[in-house]
């Protein structure tokens, strides 16, 4: 029995930890087995962040073996490609469409070590060679929901609409709303619903 394995990826400060915590809480609410592996510390300084999450029976190792993740959900497209080695062949990548260029790339650019920034097309094109991809303009959707900081909730909404997602939608919603102040509940709910809708319209 293999668990459902999710790679949560992004850049420090984007809310990757909260994304995985919502899923973990939802497991606790519904009595599902879950095991996550993450790193704290240096990676918070605008660095690359990856959190492994395994849901259901057979969640033995906290780390997903290379090539065995069912889905990568990425708050930044370069981070989806960086951790593509965890995805099973032909697996699903759900990614935000906005690139965040690392400061080192700008440094290389002005010092003439590279000619231009990497483009979104190059990144997404490379991912598409290996995976099924659903692109979500999460910032625009988060703004539509009423708060640009709900980009991570938009992506959870998209993930929850994907095929084979092992958690009950209501449990995910409950986990999400129980961790925000009452006045933020509506915005979060909207971001979640819009994320789900965006996924359905694009997949």
């Amino acid at each position: 029995m293999k668990p459902f394995s999710i790679i949560n990826a992004g850049v420090g400060g984007q809310g990757v930890v909260r994304m995985s915590n919502i899923l973990g809480e939802a497991c606790a609410l519904t009595g599902k087995e879950v095991r996550s592996g993450e790193l704290h510390g240096l990676s918070q300084r605008s660095g690359s962040i990856v959190i492994h999450q395994r849901i259901g029976d057979g969640a033995v190792s906290p780390l997903i073996p290379f090539g065995e993740a069912d889905v990568i959900v990425a708050l930044e497209p370069m981070e989806a490609l960086r951790y593509l080695y965890f995805l099973k062949p032909g697996g699903l990548v759900i990614t935000n469409t906005e690139l965040t260029h690392p400061p080192g790339e700008s440094e290389d650019l002005v010092n003439g070590r590279i000619e231009r920034y990497i483009s979104y097309e190059e990144v997404i094109g490379t991912i598409k060679e290996e995976a099924e991809v659903v692109e979500i303009d999460a910032l625009e959707i988060a703004n539509e929901a009423g708060n640009p900081l709900t980009v991570n909730v938009v992506m959870v909404g998209a993930l929850a609409a994907s095929e084979g997602f092992p958690l009950d939608r209501d449990a995910v919603v409950e986990a999400m709303t129980s961790t925000v102040p009452p006045k933020a509940v509506d915005v979060n709910l909207k971001a979640f619903e819009l994320g789900s809708e965006a996924f359905k319209s694009k997949s």
């Binding site: 809480e25 879950v34 592996g37 704290h40 300084r45 605008s46 660095g47 057979g58 290379f66 440094e107």
Partner: protein
């Protein structure tokens, strides 16, 4: 939410990080005194205790100057009779170990539990130290959990064992256990009131030297024998049968297969998943006790096997004991491990590494070639720019390094002894410089040796927290010996790297309650540092000259570069009602000199692909204004000017309030 679950009254299932499970189980065990120095991968133990502290008037907590003081503090509380706990990262245990070895001799009274968190792969440490030897060489019982639930169970049990045997109990983890989350069954939260205990009525000497030490050692050996007898056959060490599909715990070894696996900690999880993927039948011995190792149980387990695979990271700690026991009980057994060349003593493991060894040992092919897939995909990802950690937007260290490098005129001119903290990132781009970086507070001692031998001037650098942790002895040494060293103290008010905990220079203590902040300048004067220069980290225009002044001084000089950690400062700024006043690039003036990009690497600044000019992301910029001082064309301007405000940095709440009063800026 974890915080809520750590203090939850209801006994239910909760999703917890292992470090949070430590806190939950310790609170359930009525722990009364805790003390810590932060350090990855165990910092969240401290952070979680600090978060819940206001909810418990029956708990005392300190954020200690270092791990040794933290250990002594919890031992002292235990001497009088209360339950106590500390936790430290692998290398922190080196600092604490002087007292640790003595405390094994003296024993304790109230349950005293010590976590040691190793970091194979050096994710955030300077060496891949194996903390299991502390238990072994100090004669202290040591347990190892593999996940959050086991951690909770082991913490509760450790308090009981500690009191029963009057010994500290060590719990050893690795990064992948500390930073693993999973479901934990919350136990009953039954706390007792905090009531002082009379020492007069409980007097007992905890001393060890000479004849007292020899008597204590004899007692210690006897204690370990009793512990071996009790723990060896306990449920902490499980014999299991994996039949290729399912795992069952068994009693004894009758009917077990001829291939066995011995493992502990997170490696047990990698080994078990590997067996599942291979559908390989095997006998499994899961060790929860690392010291004393259950030798009888191991002997019994391997006696009927043809082959045993030992899965453990770092040293062949378990494997060496297995090898020794096999000589007597089963000399012909094949031992697959590090000595056979199958496993490395380096790095952390995972399923792909472990399954390959197990498959090889049993003559099977893994169902999937993880490494080939990894290589093919990382090749695809090689088009990506790396995303390494950098100083945060507004970080005062970025500004200090800008002045420092200009002041000393380059890497060939001085020897730069770096130390441990956020400023350690000087060894990465764009500074890319650290002539040495050894251990907490080591820069002063290293500098002392270098200044005797090198022709160049020596500069040591420490943060405020590192100075208190282990730097003071080095400073006293240098002053006393009249060494020629310039010491940079990067005073950002908090222990920034680990999440901005308070340190002795801060005006607050654990739980963010008021405390006495030590004046660093006064302290250096008291230690006899002759030349002290204070700089405002952001004021790069003035600082080059001031730094040169200190560096030119013969003898011990100090530069205190002061500005609060940006994460800490601007969090408080926002809480007090301040809003960021970012800077922007005036495209008319920017002539693509890139002084704001080169050697600066601020996460808020990038290049606009449209015109090749710099641009500042307003949602990231905190408005420190340092980049504006670097621009030769004065093209970087405060957004305050757009509303009629002055062109300057607004970083104090009072500045911001002034701006709001004077202009049209929306509140």
């Amino acid at each position: 939410m974890a915080f809520k679950d750590v203090i939850e009254k209801e006994e239910k299932d909760a999703y917890l990080l292992t470090n949070e499970a430590v806190v939950r189980a310790a609170l359930e065990s009525d722990v009364k005194v805790v003390s810590f120095y932060p350090g990855s991968p165990q910092t969240e133990v401290l952070d979680t205790f600090e978060k819940v502290l206001p909810q418990f008037d029956d708990l005392r907590m300190e954020i200690a100057t270092n791990e040794k003081v933290a250990l002594e503090t919890v031992a002292g509380a235990s001497f009088v009779g209360m339950r106590s706990l500390t936790s430290m990262k692998s290398v922190g245990t080196n600092v604490a170990s002087d007292s640790l070895y003595s405390l094994a001799y003296t024993g304790v009274k109230g349950g005293c539990v010590v976590l040691i968190a190793d970091d194979p792969y050096c994710h955030s440490s300077q060496s891949e130290q194996d903390g299991r030897w502390f238990g072994y060489t100090a004669y202290l019982p040591m347990l190892e959990p593999s996940d959050p639930q086991e951690m909770a169970d082991m913490v509760r049990l450790s308090f009981e064992l500690s009191e029963k045997y009057r010994t500290m109990v060590l719990i050893r983890t690795t990064t992948r256990v500390n930073h693993q989350s999973g479901i934990v069954r919350l136990g009953p939260m039954e706390r007792t009131p905090f009531e002082r205990i009379s020492w007069k009525e409980n007097r007992h000497s905890f001393r060890t030297v000479g004849s007292a030490a020899r008597a204590a050692k004899a007692e210690l050996l006897e204690k370990m024998d009793r512990l071996k007898a009790e723990l060896g056959r306990s449920d902490l060490n499980r014999t299991e049968h994996f039949n290729g599909k399912e795992l069952t715990q068994v009693d004894g070894t009758d009917g077990l297969p001829k291939v066995g696996v011995i493992s502990s900690g997170v490696c047990y999880r990698y080994a078990l998943e590997s067996l599942m993927d291979l559908e390989q039948e095997a006998a499994v011995l899961k060790l929860g006790v690392l010291n004393p190792l259950p030798e009888e149980l191991i002997a019994e387990f391997i006696s009927g096997l043809d082959k045993v695979i030992v899965v453990e990271e770092l040293f062949p700690y378990i494997e060496n004991t297995v090898t020794m026991i096999a000589k007597d009980t089963n000399p012909s057994i094949e031992i697959v491990g590090k000595r056979s060349g199958h496993f490395s003593e380096m790095l952390e493991y995972n399923v792909p590494i472990v399954i390959k060894v197990i498959a090889d040992a049993v003559g099977k092919e893994p169902p999937f070639d993880h490494m080939a897939h990894f290589e093919r995909m990382t090749e695809k990802a090689s088009i990506l720019p790396p995303r390494l950690p950098v100083f945060c937007a507004g970080c005062p260290h970025r500004a200090t390094f800008t002045s420092f490098r200009r002041a000393v005129g380059g890497q060939d001119e001085v020897f730069y002894a770096n130390d441990i903290g956020c400023y350690s990132m000087a060894c990465l781009e764009p500074v890319n410089w650290s002539d040495s970086m050894i251990a907490m507070g080591a820069s002063m001692g290293i500098a002392a040796g270098v200044q005797y031998v090198a022709k160049e001037k020596v500069i040591a650098m420490m943060g405020d927290s590192t100075t208190f942790h282990a730097g003071l002895t080095g400073i006293a040494n240098a002053v006393h010996n009249d060494d020629d060293i310039t010491l940079f103290i990067m005073d950002n008010s908090v222990t920034a790297m680990t999440g901005q905990q308070s340190n002795p220079a801060a005006p607050e203590v654990a739980g963010h309650t008021p405390g006495k902040g030590i004046d660093i300048e006064g302290m250096l004067r008291g230690l006899g540092v002759e030349k002290i220069v204070n700089i405002d980290s952001y004021d790069i225009g003035k600082n080059i000259k001031l730094i040169r002044e200190a560096v030119d001084h013969e003898g011990v000089s100090a530069i205190i570069s002061r500005q609060e950690c940006a994460l800490y400062h601007f969090r408080n700024y926002r809480r007090a009602g301040g809003k960021h006043v970012p800077f922007f690039v005036d495209k008319e003036k920017c002539d693509r000199m890139y002084n704001c990009v080169k050697d600066f690497m601020c996460p808020a600044i990038s290049i606009d692909p449209e015109d090749g000019k710099a641009r500042i992301a307003p949602e990231i910029c905190v408005g420190c204004g340092v980049c504006s001082k670097l621009c030769g064309k004065q093209a970087i301007i405060s957004t305050a000017t757009l509303k009629g405000g002055e062109n300057r940095a607004y970083i104090e709440v009072s500045d911001y309030e002034e701006l709001v009063r004077a202009t049209e800026v929306d509140e």
